[in-house]
């Protein structure tokens, strides 16, 4: 079975500062993908960043980067230069090889303080 755990129900950060959201996962497969999705108050699910398990290099998308620790099954999201528009619920998700469904963590609600 595949599971995703986000241990921080809520986080807050000051505008322009950096914040890291934690995610751990469990899977028996060697082929899998990890994602971070953002869900603002509009409830739209927005893909932020993806990481292929076979790649050692951490993915980066502008102000968003991940720290992928495969042995520890850890996949944290770092948001640099936080902006008010980054305030949202962030979901970590796993897509296990051979199965197309996404399995989500419970989410971390991020507040950005001006």
């Amino acid at each position: 079975a595949q599971t995703v755990t986000q241990s921080q129900p809520e986080m807050s950060v000051q505008e322009a500062e950096t914040v890291t959201l934690s995610c751990t996962y469990d899977t028996s497969e060697s082929d899998y993908y990890l994602f971070w999705y953002k869900q603002p108050p509009s409830r739209q699910m927005i893909l932020v960043i993806r990481q292929e398990a076979y790649k050692q290099q951490n993915a980066t998308e502008n102000r968003f980067s991940v720290n992928f620790q495969k042995a520890a099954k850890s996949f944290s999201l770092k948001i640099s230069d936080s902006q008010l528009g980054d305030a949202a619920m962030y979901f970590c998700a796993l897509n296990q090889g051979g199965s197309e469904k996404l399995v989500f963590g419970k989410g971390t609600k991020l507040t950005v303080n001006p």
């Binding site: 999705y37 739209q44 699910m45 993806r50 897509n95 199965s99 469904k101 996404l102 963590g105 419970k106």
Partner: protein, 113 residues
């Protein structure tokens, strides 16, 4: 860029009624997924289709059925609605089942009274 389209965006039904949700994937995407997100919950996978065939099934109630049509749009049919079916229903699409990246539509908010 074109996105996933879902209709209707909001739907109010009474208990025991039937609802049909529609999803139009991104052009050239042949794989569609349905997720249910209850209040304060994470999205839960319901069912997926690839090339008009069911490809995976999650915790979808027997009262629900879905299909994908020749133009790749998909419909989720929900019968004998219960109060607990009130949720946000997302459709997502991907370029193929192995493409992994899933792009979500805006969701249909279903309220059962």
């Amino acid at each position: 860029a074109a996105g996933v389209i879902q209709s209707p965006r909001h739907l109010i039904k009474e208990k025991r009624e039937t609802a049909t949700l529609k999803c139009y994937p991104i052009p050239r995407h042949d794989t569609v997924y349905w997720y249910q997100q209850g209040p304060g919950q994470d999205p839960q996978f319901l069912i997926s289709f690839y090339e008009k065939m069911q490809s995976d099934k999650g915790s979808i109630p027997d009262r629900f059925s879905a299909q994908q049509f020749s133009d790749y749009h998909s419909e989720l049919n929900m019968s004998s609605l219960e109060l607990g079916d009130s949720a946000l229903y997302f459709c997502a699409s991907s370029l193929s089942p192995r493409a992994y990246e899933q792009y979500f539509g805006p969701g249909t908010r279903l309220t059962v009274t």
